[in-house]
Symmetry: C2
Subunit: 225 residues, 2 copies
């Protein structure tokens, strides 16, 4: 499939690289491709400059958010939650219309220090905000509940674990579930409509505390039943 991955941070690179490796045609979307390619310093999260990563992943092309989305069948929101609505606005409502929009973002608010809080929760979710703002996109929330490496290589854990899909469009959820299975996920739980994204976004606080308690982000939730 032709897939746009919006965001060139850890999650975006990990998803883009893996989708490309799996044979998909992947365009990474960024605000200003020339500026992204010109950077020579690690980003704020310590990621190597994008140009270095791009050299190791020549099949992944880089384009503006709008160009990336325009050419894609599936759009992945791999931006940080606080920027997601802005970035999707730059991608353009017309370029998102009718597309499957896999939303991986988390509504984390770091403004009050660590641990972050959530800027939307409980009675609403970031996924719902995105769906309301872009009513013609077919939003599916998934993969926001685990570390980037495990999103695309769940088999590195000692046993199978679970991921979730939330969305109003059954066919879009099937498309996303297919991609998750390509990544290696064997237990994809359909939670229901897009409002169920509240639940998975509210998993972040315990996820962050588990990271602290376990000393590693290499873990995932499994729903034993």
């Amino acid at each position: 499939m032709k897939i746009a991955v919006l965001g060139t941070g850890t999650v975006g690179r990990t998803i883009a690289g893996r989708l490309s490796e799996l044979g998909h045609t992947v365009t990474a979307g960024t605000r200003d491709p020339q500026a992204t390619l010109a950077r020579t310093e690690p980003d704020g999260m310590g990621n190597a400059p994008y140009a270095e990563w791009a050299a190791a992943h020549p099949a992944v092309t880089l384009a503006s958010f709008a160009e990336a989305a325009a050419g894609a069948e599936v759009v992945v929101n791999a931006t940080n939650g606080a920027a997601s609505l802005d970035v999707l606005g730059l991608a353009g409502a017309d370029n998102l219309a009718g597309k499957v929009l896999l939303d991986i973002s988390n509504p984390l608010d770091f403004s009050q220090g660590m641990p972050p809080t959530l800027f939307v929760k409980d009675t609403d979710s970031l996924a719902e905000q995105i769906q309301r703002t872009f009513p013609d996109a077919r939003v599916v929330k998934s993969l926001n509940t685990l570390n980037a490496d495990l999103m695309v290589h769940p088999e590195t854990l000692p046993e199978s674990s679970s991921v979730f899909v939330s969305g109003d469009d059954a066919e879009a959820k099937r498309t996303v579930t297919g991609l998750l299975e390509e990544f290696g996920h064997t237990d994809v739980i359909d939670l229901g409509d897009i409002t169920t994204a509240r639940g998975v976004e509210m998993l972040l606080p315990v996820w962050l505390r588990l990271w602290g308690a376990l000393g590693s982000p290499a873990f995932n939730f499994k729903i034993v039943r």
Copy 2:
């Protein structure tokens, strides 16, 4: 140990019955013991009248919240979240002072319909409210993330799963962990101080959605790592 279980609903009965079966001296706490024993109709949740349950569990005595707490080494808060601070007030700060207070409650708000929302979250938690209101109690949050039957019989699931403890008092967490192990839990994760209760209380929304998606509450989170 001498244990008071405050609350005579599903969770209270399940915990009290199992602790008694394990050899502990258990007193169930209720607002008005005579009124509780006099009821002949099922309660709002469809539980059989308490007197019926009590007849099948003769070792569990019934007392007022205050009497139950006064005689206990460990106090279990098995009341519904909206009533917890009131009930613990009736139990009495003096009767809770120095005691291990295992808090199982969830801050569910049913006033806006289903699914319930949380009346405290993200920047605070019910467990923290309890700890602040009763600063001499040694509050440990645990067991609020799974069905009552599974709290005390986790071995009925096809594989091991995880439970969590949150609290400021390491010895109190060890006491609670010991009780959890008596129940059969083999993976008790210490998340850290009482503020980590925010994370486990915020698990409820996805727990409720999973119940809907799976059609059964007979599941639990396992942290695969």
